[in-house]
């Protein structure tokens, strides 16, 4: 059963060049789907459309069988309860003026989720591997990896069904990145995830399905393992061939 379906979506900013053209794919419930592309591929724009921050000019996006009504406030409130996001830059995605407690409980307050918000925040913070005293501190007191964990806690605190991650580990150091990828893996067992990234290695480690974007079009989509083993499109082939690998043992 498909949780999200994108049908023939097209988008351009103003009267300019098409950023996305004829994009179609679907995200089955419980799956981890990777959207891979380099700069200019349109992957970030696509993510904004999936988040309902912009509306496609052609085609449509279905969520749980019904069209995504980005301009319908009542609909979007329900949608936000079910769909949350983690962004790339852990230094700009947390409001520096707020304590972590406030940052993590923001979706609960804004979406008027019933229940003990502080208890839910504690649980979310614990589930991303941080200690409870985190809640009383400010973002600048944490490293990049810790901040990204806080951003993940904010994304899962309202128990969404789908989490969208935009280059969510790209700004992190290698050793931190491995641990945050592990955290995403753990979380993805409980929900559906769409992981947008330029980093094929990260996506390969996280996602069982891949959608490869190049200049606003899908060039290849399918099972991750199949694409890695036998890429069909020349772009996917060159992308895979360009990735630097570690030297083999002497």
């Amino acid at each position: 059963m498909s949780l999200m379906t994108v049908e023939n979506v097209g988008f351009s900013y103003g009267a300019g060049r098409k950023v996305l053209e004829d994009i179609s794919f679907s995200v089955p419930k419980g799956a981890n789907v990777g959207l891979v592309g380099e700069s200019g591929s349109g992957k970030s724009t696509l993510l904004r459309l999936l988040l309902g921050l912009d509306s496609p000019q052609s085609g449509r996006i279905l969520f749980d069988g019904a069209p995504l009504e980005a301009r319908d406030r009542a609909y979007m409130r329900g949608y936000r309860k079910r769909v949350q996001a983690v962004f790339q830059d852990p230094y700009s995605s947390l409001n520096p003026a707020h304590r972590i407690r406030r940052i993590v409980t923001e979706p609960l307050r804004s979406l008027k989720v019933p229940g003990d918000h502080l208890a839910m925040a504690r649980e979310a913070i614990a589930s991303v591997g941080l200690t409870e005293d985190t809640l009383e501190r400010f973002p600048h007191q944490f490293s990049g990896g810790q901040r990204q964990r806080i951003a993940i806690a904010r994304a899962i605190v309202a128990r969404p069904e789908l989490v969208l991650a935009d280059e969510a580990v790209s700004a992190l150091d290698l050793s931190t990145r491995v641990r945050v990828v592990d955290l995403f893996r753990e979380i993805s067992e409980r929900m559906t995830m769409i992981f947008v990234s330029h980093d094929m290695g990260v996506v390969a480690a996280l996602c069982d399905q891949l959608v490869v974007l190049d200049r606003g079009r899908i060039v290849e989509a399918g099972e991750t393992a199949a694409i890695l083993r036998d890429p069909q499109h020349s772009y996917t082939k060159s992308l895979l061939a360009s990735i630097p690998r570690m030297p083999e043992g002497a």
Binding site: L174, T224, P247
Partner: protein, 269 residues
């Protein structure tokens, strides 16, 4: 004196914090040396110390000898000569490293003219232009005639980085410092720039100090590497040995992390 660059017991500090300490390494003429480290390791500060470009609030102690000149404590005038002559740097973000209001050709012409003057050669417009064209060809930039008149924002990230490399080579340095030169680039472009840098330094006999957080990229470029963490060297040795049989715990962790993503690409995630 066989080494081009010798760093001995380098220590960099602010009044509050020690940022780099007990750092010693050397690079022979023509050698490709890799400096690996995560953020906060002090790797970029080290490269700034080599060129004498440290921020004023930083205190440098120890010894950095570049082409027979002591950099630490040297007056700015001597450093300017050194930077034009012995060492040139390519930075991470070519968009900010280039002057946005100057055509690319003129940006490359600046260091070219200085070198021609230094060598006592002719510095007529035609002579400089010939040299600029030769450099653009050397960094494999297509359509050099158009590029000379273009502004930085009008060309792609990869092309900008090639221009930055051309500028660095324009003064015929004996040491090229490349500080995360491919981090801001797409992976397909990254591969081309890595190949370009490696082949150019070999062709021209220039020594290379390649700084990166990406182990695999350093592995492709460097013959010898040093791993830094929290301002100290934790391990150094031949690149292949460090990247395949790391001795230090931290290096082992880094290598394991890099190999995990490699394995995922082989479908063993």
């Amino acid at each position: 004196m066989s080494d081009l660059l010798t760093v001995r017991d380098l220590r960099l500090s602010t009044p509050d914090t020690v940022l780099v300490q007990d750092l010693s390494f050397s690079i022979a003429a023509g050698e490709r040396f890799g400096l690996i480290g995560e953020s906060g390791s002090g790797k970029s500060l080290t490269s700034l110390a080599v060129t004498g470009l440290l921020a004023p609030g930083l205190r440098a102690e120890g010894s950095v000898e570049l082409a027979g000149t002591q950099v630490i404590g040297a007056p700015e005038r001597r450093l300017v000569g050194l930077r034009g002559n012995a060492v040139a740097t390519v930075f991470q973000e070519p968009l900010t490293a280039l002057d946005p209001l100057m055509p690319l050709g003129r940006q490359i012409a600046g260091p070219v003219r200085r070198r021609l003057k230094r060598e006592g050669a002719e510095t007529s417009r035609a002579a400089v232009r010939d040299e600029v064209m030769a450099l653009l060809e050397q960094v494999r930039l297509p359509d050099p005639v158009r590029l000379i008149g273009a502004y930085p924002h009008e060309v792609s990230g990869g092309q900008r980085q090639r221009v930055a490399i051309a500028m660095a080579l324009a003064c015929r340095p004996r040491l090229l410092i490349a500080d995360e030169p491919t981090t801001a680039l797409d992976v397909t472009t990254q591969a081309e720039i890595v190949r370009l840098i490696t082949s150019l330094v070999d062709e021209l006999g220039i020594a290379l100090l390649f700084i990166s957080h990406d182990l695999a990229v350093v592995g492709q470029v460097a013959e010898r590497v040093m791993v830094m963490r929290h301002g100290r060297a934790v391990e150094s040795g031949p690149a292949l040995q460090v990247l395949t049989q790391p001795q230090d715990d931290y290096t082992r962790n880094l290598v394991a992390a890099a190999r995990r993503f490699d394995a995922a690409l082989e479908g063993q995630g």
